[in-house]
C-alpha cells in the first residue's frame, strides 16, 4: 500500500551566521497515494529542504507534515530516501547494501539476500552484486541506491535529483526504468529535478517552486506517465509534451 502526503502551512528557516535564512514559506500540498510528483525550481529555492522535512531529517519551524495520517516526527522506513549523492555503505558489497532494509527489520539472511537479488535484477545490476559501491560508476551507484530503497519497501519514495550528475543517455535509460517501476508498483513518489523534460516525462503531477523562500507557484496534473499504453519514446515525442514543458519552463523562470 502506498501513502499520501499532506503538507499544511509549512515554513522553514535556517539559522545562519548572517541571521535567519527563510528557505520555505507557506507551503500547502496534498499528494494522493500513488501519485508521481515531480518538483522543479531554481537552485536554492528550497526543494531539498522540503524533501528533508518530509523525510523527517529535520523538524520544520512552522506547519505540519503528515504521511498516511501520521504526523512526521523523524525518519522512518515508510519513507525511503534516494539522495542526490549516493549514500551506499562502502563496508558492504552492493548486495548487502540492498539487503540492509530487510536486515534492519529482522528478515532472515537467506530471504533478505534473495530480496536484494530480485531488486538488483530489476535495476539491471545483478552482475555487480558482489562488488563494493566504490567499484561502481556513478549511474550504477544511483541504481543500487534505488534498489536499496525499493528493497526497504517504503510506502513513499523521496528522490532528490537522483540523475543530476549523469550523462544524457544513462539518464534517459534510468528514467524509463523508473517509469516502469512506478507503473508496476504504484508507490507514491516525490521526485526533485532540475530538468524540465525529466519533470514532465516522469511526473503524473508537476510542481514548480519560486525562488527562496520557496512557495509552490505551478501545480498541474500531467497525463503521460500514468498512461501505461505510452512507451517512453512516444511520450517524449508528443506535441503536448513540448507544450507542457514550455509552460513549466516559463513558471520556473518567473
Amino acid at each position: 500500500m502506498s501513502k499520501g502526503i499532506t503538507v499544511a502551512g509549512l515554513g522553514h528557516e535556517f539559522r545562519a551566521r548572517g541571521g535567519a535564512v527563510p528557505a520555505l514559506e507557506g507551503i500547502d500540498l496534498d499528494i494522493a497515494p500513488g501519485e508521481f510528483v515531480t518538483l522543479a525550481g531554481p537552485s536554492g529555492c528550497g526543494k531539498t529542504t522540503l524533501l528533508r522535512l518530509v523525510a523527517g531529517f529535520a523538524a520544520p519551524t512552522s506547519g505540519t507534515i503528515t504521511v498516511g495520517d501520521v504526523p512526521v516526527a523523524g525518519p522512518g522506513p515508510d519513507r525511503g530516501v534516494v539522495f542526490q549523492q549516493p549514500t551506499l555503505y562502502p563496508w558492504l558489497d552492493v548486495r548487502r547494501n540492498v539487503a540492509l532494509g530487510p536486515k534492519l527489520r529482522g528478515v532472515g539472511k537467506a530471504q533478505r539476500l534473495a530480496t536484494a537479488g530480485r531488486y538488483l535484477e530489476l535495476v539491471g545490476l545483478s552482475d555487480a552484486a558482489d562488488r563494493r559501491p566504490y567499484e561502481l560508476s556513478g549511474g550504477m551507484q544511483q541504481r543500487a541506491q534505488i534498489a536499496r530503497v525499493l528493497a526497504g519497501d517504503p510506502e513513499v519514495v523521496l528522490m532528490d535529483e537522483p540523475y543530476g550528475a549523469l550523462d544524457a543517455l544513462t539518464r534517459e535509460r534510468l528514467q524509463n526504468e523508473l517509469l516502469s517501476l512506478w507503473r508496476a508498483s504504484g508507490k507514491t513518489i516525490l521526485f526533485i529535478t532540475h530538468s524540465v523534460d525529466e519533470a514532465v516525462f516522469l511526473g503524473s503531477r508537476v510542481l514548480v517552486m519560486s525562488p527562496r523562500p520557496g512557495r509552490i507557484v505551478f501545480d498541474e496534473f500531467v497525463p503521460f506517465s500514468a498512461d501505461a499504453d505510452l512507451a517512453p519514446e512516444e511520450i517524449r515525442a508528443l506535441p503536448k509534451f513540448a507544450e507542457v514543458a514550455g509552460r513549466v519552463r516559463e513558471a520556473i523562470s518567473h
Binding site: G76, G80, T87, W91, L100, R132, Y134, R148
Partner: protein, 277 residues
C-alpha cells in the same frame, strides 16, 4: 614511456637501495669495531659478535670461562621468548585498550555531554608520559605483569578513544539518515553505520597506540622486566654484555617496524575502502 619499461619497478629499486646501504653500514661498522677506537674493546662489538650473541641468546650454550655448565638462552629464557613476553604484554594492554577505548569513544562521540564531561580526563591521561605513573601502578598492582599490562592499557586507550571520537564526529550525516530511513533503531545505527564508518579512524588510533605501547613496554621493563626484551637489553648493558645489548636493540627496532607493517596490512584488509569512499 619506453625508458620506464626498461627500468626495474620502483619496489625493486627500493629494496636494492636498502640492501646496498645495509652492506655499507655493516662494513663501516666492522671497520670501526676493528679499529678499537674505544677501550676496552668489548664496548665496540663487531656485527659478527652481535650475531654470535644473538645466536647464543637463542640456544643452549656453555657458560664459558672454564665452567662446565650449559645454560638456556639468557636469564633462562631464549631471546625470542623475551620478545614474546614483551609482545604478550603489549598485546594484552592493547586488547583492553580497544575493549575500553572503542566503546568509550563511540559513546563520547555520539553523546555530546559525555564527550564534554570525560574528554578533558582522557586528554590529561594522554598527555602524561606513562612512566610517570609506573611507580603508582607498581604500588597498586605489584611488580609483576599486572602493573605492566595496566601501564600499557593506560598508554593505549587514550589514542584509541580520541581517534574513535574523531571518527564518530566525522560520520556523514546522510549515511546515518539513510539508515534511519531504512528503519534503523538507535542501537542498530551504531552497529550498522557508526562503528563501520569509524573503523578507519579506530585503526589509525590503534596504530598510534601500538607504537606508543611498544616504546612504553621497553622502558617499563627497566624495573623487574625479566623476562622481557627491554629488560634484557637493559640488564645486558649494565653487565657489559654490549654485543647482546645491541642484538636486543636491533630486535626491538625491527619488531616495531614489523608491528607497524602488521597494522597497515590489517588496515588494507579491513578497510579496503579507505580513501575511495
Amino acid at each position: 614511456m619506453s625508458s620506464t619499461v626498461l627500468e626495474p619497478p620502483r619496489g625493486v629499486r627500493r629494496w636494492v637501495g636498502l640492501a646496498l646501504s645495509l652492506v655499507v653500514l655493516l662494513a663501516t661498522w666492522s671497520v670501526v669495531a676493528a679499529a678499537d677506537l674505544v677501550e676496552p674493546h668489548y664496548l665496540t662489538p663487531s656485527p659478527l659478535q652481535v650475531w654470535d650473541a644473538f645466536i647464543r641468546a637463542n640456544s643452549h650454550h656453555a657458560v664459558g670461562g672454564g665452567i662446565d655448565r650449559v645454560v638456556r638462552g639468557e636469564e633462562n629464557y631464549f631471546l625470542w621468548e623475551h620478545l614474546v613476553v614483551s609482545l604478550r604484554r603489549i598485546g594484552l594492554g592493547l586488547l583492553f585498550g580497544v575493549l575500553v577505548g572503542v566503546p568509550l569513544g563511540l559513546l563520547m562521540g555520539s553523546v555530546r555531554w559525555v564527550g564534554d564531561l570525560v574528554g578533558p580526563y582522557v586528554d590529561f591521561l594522554r598527555s602524561l608520559p606513562p612512566l610517570a605513573y609506573i611507580g603508582f601502578l607498581v604500588a597498586w598492582f605489584g611488580i609483576y605483569d599486572t602493573s605492566k599490562v595496566w601501564l600499557l592499557f593506560l598508554a593505549a586507550f587514550p589514542p584509541i578513544t580520541l581517534a574513535t571520537i574523531n571518527g564518530v564526529r566525522g560520520v556523514r550525516q546522510d549515511q546515518l539518515n539513510a539508515a534511519r530511513s531504512l528503519g534503523a533503531s538507535g542501537l542498530q545505527l551504531t552497529t550498522a553505520v557508526t562503528l563501520p564508518a569509524t573503523l578507519p579512524d579506530i585503526l589509525s588510533g590503534l596504530r598510534v597506540a601500538v607504537g606508543f605501547a611498544w616504546t612504553t613496554v621497553v622502558a617499563a621493563e627497566l624495573v623487574n622486566g625479566l623476562p622481557g626484551i627491554g629488560g634484557l637489553a637493559y640488564l645486558s648493558g649494565t653487565q657489559n654484555k654490549i654485543a647482546l645489548s645491541v642484538a636486543c636493540i636491533l630486535v626491538i627496532g625491527l619488531t616495531a617496524i614489523a608491528l607497524d607493517a602488521v597494522i597497515r596490512t590489517i588496515e588494507k584488509l579491513v578497510v579496503p575502502w579507505r580513501g575511495k569512499a
